[in-house]
């Protein structure tokens, strides 16, 4: 079923009775060419690109609960291509280009809004670092603009410019960054994959891998054994738990990250703002709520909820940047489980087990990567070679000394 204005008019005149479910609810078959574990943004995008790029395959996505119920429904919806290092920026720029064509490609309104991201700087050293990062972005085909205090004031006059401790010295503006309606990304990819014959199997938890010798032949699930020529794991915060079933230990810790939304307000913040003196980022949704977040809770956690001290910390940071925030009431807060890697960068790689592939370690950056992660994981699954923009995301990079540590924090996952 294709969506169009004509269709909408027709349906509105006939009581909206003609709409069909956007994807089927098939029973699992005995075997597939590709089984993707995890029906989140990344898993669904992987299945979609596998089916689109390399048709004629039998593909299934297995999801423990319902699709889009994990981190793709729990993030702050920001997309950006503003990384510095060579291993990262070409990949995120590729992702941004896929975002730009996503809605036309999927025939689905994902509300991709390139409203611009402004990273504020508060010291001379931060400005130098921002200039350097901006240049790296431009070299990789992205866009960056360094603003001075006046430039920031013209965009966001309500920021706290009088702060003596953290004066706003300017900001790095990435105009193509922005926000996307996160759930619609999962739904759009699910619909696109389903239309190309992918079986999306919900309420189907993987309970083990069937590994003979060093080859993965399929997965045990709560709905029986499912054979597979290749198995791709894309389960974000549950990465360590799932890969442990294949006997692997990963360079990943799971941490809880909270996010918040205020009551609906009139249009106030047109773009995305990030604070340079505290960990705080904020945008305003089309419904009017201010969507913001900050630091991890800092301890290992699989609970999809955080604790109050971090709520206080995030709101303090917010208040010191946007004093007017104090007038808004907090409507909701929630937590998601982040697969924090040892250098803050992800993995899209084969494992030492034949036929078993892994995509994870996205830290808090998984949402913006969704299209490219799906595309590159599909490429790896099909060709056994990494996509040209994802060659650095190896699982053994700590052994070979090729870490991709944007923040230079070392092997302390909660600081990335």
């Amino acid at each position: 079923m294709r969506y169009s204005a004509l269709r909408l008019i027709k349906e509105s005149l006939t009581g909206h009775k003609g709409w069909q479910p956007q994807w089927r609810d098939p029973a699992p078959q005995a075997a597939y060419d590709y089984v993707i574990i995890g029906g989140g943004g990344h898993g669904l995008a992987t299945a979609y690109y596998l089916a689109r790029q390399f048709g004629g395959q039998r593909i299934a996505v297995l999801e423990k609960g319902w699709i889009g119920g994990g981190n793709v429904g729990r993030n702050t919806t920001i997309i950006r291509s503003n990384y510095m290092l060579d291993g990262n920026e070409p990949f995120y720029e590729f992702s941004m280009k896929l975002w730009e064509g996503l809605e036309q490609e999927l025939n689905y309104n994902a509300m991709v809004s390139q409203r611009g991201i402004l990273n504020l700087v508060h010291t001379d050293a931060q400005r130098d670092a921002a200039r350097r990062r901006g240049n790296a972005m431009i070299l990789n085909g992205s866009d960056a603009e360094l603003l001075d205090t006046g430039g920031v004031r013209a965009m966001y006059p309500f920021l706290n410019f009088k702060d003596a401790r953290f004066p706003i010295k300017g900001g790095l503006l990435h105009r193509r960054g922005g926000t996307v309606r996160h759930d619609a990304v999962a739904w759009g990819y699910a619909r696109g994959a389903d239309m190309r014959g992918v079986d999306i199997i919900q309420n189907c938890e993987v309970t083990g891998f069937h590994i003979e010798g060093s080859t993965c032949l399929g997965v045990e699930t709560t709905r029986g054994f499912i054979g597979a020529k290749k198995v791709g794991v894309s389960v974000a915060g549950s990465s360590s738990r799932v890969m442990a079933m294949a006997g692997m230990r990963l360079p990943i810790e799971s941490h809880v990250l909270q996010a918040f939304v205020s009551e609906g307000l009139k249009p106030f913040i047109p773009g995305v703002i990030t604070y340079g003196a505290g960990h705080f980022y904020c945008s305003q949704s089309d419904k009017g709520g201010l969507v913001f977040g900050g630091d991890l809770d800092m301890y290992n956690s699989y609970a999809q909820r955080g604790n109050l001290p971090v709520v206080e910390d995030v709101v303090e940071s917010g208040m010191s940047l946007i004093p007017a925030l104090g007038r808004a009431r907090l409507l909701r807060g929630w937590g998601g489980i982040m697969d924090m890697s040892m250098d803050g960068s992800p993995f899209i790689d084969k494992t030492h087990i034949e036929g078993l592939y892994f995509n994870g370690g996205w830290c808090y950056g998984g949402f913006k990567a969704t299209p490219a992660a799906g595309y590159c994981f599909a490429h790896l699954l099909k060709t056994d070679r990494p996509h040209e923009t994802a060659t650095a995301y190896r699982l053994d990079r700590f052994l070979t000394g090729h870490m991709i540590d944007e923040k230079g924090q070392g092997a302390q996952p909660n600081l990335h």
Binding site: E253, Y299, N300, S301, A303, M342, Q412
Partner: protein, 98 residues
């Protein structure tokens, strides 16, 4: 979260900083065969369990002691708190006894 400090009694977790898995106390022998691989595993690989987890907390805003806290990562319930010093001293003794 409240951490029941063995010496100071119940303290707010905000007084502590978190390091990670308590296995970080068991540094590999740098002179052993395959030390490079052992250090890779020590530094970078984690069990990362959902459930009971032994982890190192530092009482930065308090008596600056290191604690080994056993905590459930699914419920955040704290099951046991020990001084890391006691754990470290007990473990070689345990190994020697075996």
């Amino acid at each position: 979260m409240i951490i029941n400090h063995p010496l100071l009694g119940p303290r707010d977790a905000q007084e502590f900083t978190y390091l990670g898995d308590a296995s970080l106390m068991n540094r590999p022998d740098w002179q052993a065969e395959g030390a490079a691989k052992a250090f890779h595993d020590y530094l970078y690989l984690r069990d990362n369990p959902a459930g009971e987890h032994r982890e190192l907390w530092f009482h930065e805003q308090g008596d600056r002691s290191w604690l080994v806290v056993t905590r459930n990562t699914v419920t955040h319930e704290i099951l046991r708190v020990e001084l890391a010093r006691d754990v470290a001293l007990a473990e070689p003794a345990l190994e020697a006894a075996q």
